[in-house]
Symmetry: C2
Subunit: 504 residues, 2 copies
């Protein structure tokens, strides 16, 4: 075959560090591997190759020798040089029965929702009020750029090798110091860096939960937590959605089921924005101490308050050391850092580290180092002030718009912090049908069912007001109101609301 | 108490965005939370506070009101204002029985070794030939700095939110393109980004292994793989350490145990540098196809060849689609990127993504973006050429030094690539005793036992020649030779080598 069509001497460079024969062999190897030179094709004799590529004959010989060593070509004496058959001749290939080999899959219905949310945060055309994302326009990237380029000296190579599984120590220190001022009674040894608080939840499940263990959750509560605990085989006990934490029922649960954990988001709870009052926090901690209950306190939104600072965290109030608290920079800075933290007694941190070592050795030091520089430069407080101000405006705007366009068929309570409006449709309207109509009109949200372990919430939905600038938010609410009107007119309301509905 | 000792008006700034009363309240809250103002301390009346801090009385009143709302202070009518007791009065605290709550711990002996290695890569004083780390002096950081500061425009915010679990698509594409030129028959959909190949191993264990499943491993083989598979409850079948892959025994295993996986590092195997010849690779693949065996090919060192390019990877030769291949940038660039990849059939990638989503949603996009920029700028090939040249020098230097200083009591074969010398002590000498002596003289290595699933290797050890510059390597070998001489003289050789030894 005419090899000049396939390899061109233009690709060769005499002054490259790579010897000519290797450059030639490399080019040929690539064509052979790509099947551009199919098995069995005859290659030109070394002399011809040399002329064709204007290289010495020795170079051509070496190139072929190298290819032969690689098993890519075969020289048949007296016949010539041929491309070898890369695939040994085999019986017709049985395909691998992958599905038989997989371990049982975790409940994938809920998880597929979360993944769709993350994807939906992409689509250009439609306005996603679904994913709980901060507004990219508010990421403090210019600071990060400045820090990174400044730090040429500081970003020392030694810190980009392997670091301890627990995290980059300077970051653990500055984080612990910050948490101290919030009343946490901790040291850096109680503080571990994780790849987003999602990984914190995963480690907790990995270290504490065996199939059949009980975990108490609020309802509604964070989708991701339900998923991780269910995937670990835990049985979830939902506390009913009432105005106050039902402490008597909780105590019943503690006595009857001896649950391993109580997962709670006391401040600006995802999805409904609830803040647990100080008095309730103290009662909960008394109960926990009495029953030696381990509390998993998830606090991604505590810094994002729009009216007044929320009460002290459970961790800060915890008198008996049974609280594990999760935090993250994904909501206050940007998710791409993949950096969150866990605070817990040292004995627990040690077990987390042991488990995390198998999972990823340690989290990205690049992110940890940049984050440390950002915190050390004292840039966080101003940034928090900026986003609080901006998100307050957006919350008030959306509140107004919902009143104006969606009432009376949609009601809500004003969130005092966090990212979300938790809305209830008037009797008989189903959020899943609303989502269907909304999707057609280019707006999305999360149906309430996603936040219940027991498939309630068919008439509720979550709207995120953080991700988009005001005009876009307004447009989103208008589209939502159109969808809502269509739903109302179509008398979808006439159908009874199913008692239990599978998650879409 | 004299509050002026504790809070100083110097801390207050009239032109801050934060209102004065909140600044004052914040300062006091911090002191209270830090117990600098202990529970029960009496605070000055509002009038006094106003005078003390030179603020209006209203400001003082608002500060106290805010603190009271927070539950941090209590106003007793007619008596005054006191710091509240943050800890509710409780029965004497029972501590949490953590150890009863933990899930069974994975075998921690081996894992503690790996963690010590990572730690030992730190110590300034001693020379670690233990950890398999590239030399930090060779990290191409200046390129990364340039890219990052240039990319201010490119590092667009949209890419730093959440991205798909499978990874940053531009990186997946450029990676797949690169692997194509190495004969991989894949698309980006077959390529998933993971947080270091450690996470790839973890995902494989998570998706394929249930307790009691069999996994075939070479011996010696990579410590981290043994750990992850054991932690998943798998039973490991070791192929004996012989010159060629014992294919007959392998087939026996396949028939008798129907193993889920065969974990193999065909190129520059960690620890002993072995390269599986092309013919053997083809025989292995025939066997795999015949028995529909899933092969996990770990290839961290394939790019680091010092004599000639190694044979095509199993993935490139695989005719039946049963090979899952792991790669990483930790060895060729730097570990701090925490970026590796997995190539597998799409159905397998989908299951990996489902599992990874629970673990960390996705890997750091910051790392993925920077890595993409580095690859897109075409900087990898030159960097590889640089490190190959440098590591070749070091390999030859260490080979010479071992000959000169450590023979005849220590023998080795010259590695054709990768990071390690695999050495054997003369009959009767135990590497664990050598490690003890070596530690005292400021040099460390990994004892051979760490690389066997069946606790063999008491007379073998692994030396990494990549991490340090030549002088330091030489110093390390000299220290090692002194330790070796001491061991020889002390006739440690007289003790019989134990048949089976627990891992230290």
């Amino acid at each position: 075959m005419d090899i000049s069509k396939i390899i061109d001497k233009g690709f060769l460079s005499a002054d490259s560090k790579i010897p000519l024969y290797k450059q030639i062999a490399g080019l040929l190897a690539e064509k052979i591997n790509n099947r551009l030179l199919p098995a069995g094709s005859k290659l030109p004799p070394e002399r011809e190759l040399a002329v064709l590529l204007q290289v010495s004959r020795t170079t051509a010989i070496n190139a072929y020798r190298w290819l032969e060593e690689q098993g890519l070509i075969i020289t048949k004496v007296g016949s010539g040089t041929y491309v070898a058959d890369l695939l040994t001749t085999l019986p017709p290939n049985p395909s691998v029965p992958w599905s038989q080999l997989f371990t049982p899959s975790p409940n994938t219905q809920l998880s597929s929702i979360l993944r769709e949310l993350m994807a939906s945060a992409y689509t250009e055309d439609s306005i996603s009020l679904a994913a709980g994302m901060p507004d990219p326009a508010l990421y403090p990237l210019k600071h990060f750029h400045r820090l990174f380029s400044q730090q040429s000296s500081h970003l020392c190579a030694a810190e980009l090798g392997h670091i301890p599984t627990e995290g980059y120590m300077p970051l653990r220190r500055i984080l612990a110091a910050r948490l101290l001022t919030k009343g946490y009674d901790i040291t850096p040894a109680n503080t571990m860096i994780v790849s987003g608080s999602q990984q914190g939840l995963y480690l907790i499940a990995k270290v504490f939960l065996e199939p059949g263990d009980y975990v108490i959750v609020e309802s509604p509560t964070y989708l991701g937590a339900i998923q991780v605990f269910s995937a670990a085989g835990a049985r979830l006990l939902s506390l009913p959605a009432v105005n106050n934490l039902p402490l008597e029922l909780l105590e019943d649960y503690l006595v009857r089921y001896r649950p391993k954990l109580f997962y709670v988001m006391p401040t600006f709870k995802n999805p409904n924005g609830r803040v647990m009052p100080l008095a309730e926090r103290r009662k909960l901690l008394e109960l926990a101490a009495k029953h030696r209950l381990v509390i998993v306190e998830d606090d991604p939104y505590g810094e994002l308050y729009y009216d007044r600072q929320p009460p002290l965290s459970l961790k800060a109030l915890d008198p008996f050391g049974g609280v594990i608290t999760l935090g993250t920079f994904s909501k206050i800075l940007f998710p791409g850092l993949r950096t969150g933290w866990v605070t817990a007694p040292e004995t627990v941190i040690n077990r987390f580290a042991l488990a995390k070592q198998y999972i990823d050795l340690h989290s990205s030091n690049l992110s940890q180092k940049l984050l440390f520089d950002f915190l050390a430069a004292g840039l966080l407080e101003d940034h928090l002030h900026t986003v609080r101000t901006e998100y307050t405006k957006r919350r008030d705007l959306v509140a107004g718009a919902l009143e104006q366009y969606c009432s009376p068929h949609l009601t809500f309570t004003l969130p005092a912090g966090g990212f979300y409006f938790w809305c209830t449709l008037s009797q008989g309207l189903l959020t899943r049908q609303l989502l269907h109509e909304a999707g057609k009109r280019g707006v999305s949200f999360v149906p309430g069912e996603a936040f219940y372990a027991d498939a309630a919430g068919a008439g509720e939905l979550r709207l995120c007001f953080a991700t988009h600038p005001e005009e876009r938010l307004l447009a989103g609410i208008r589209r939502l109101s159109t969808a809502l009107q269509v739903l109302v007119d179509s008398n979808a309301g006439s159908q009874p609301r199913p008692a239990v509905t599978p998650i879409i």
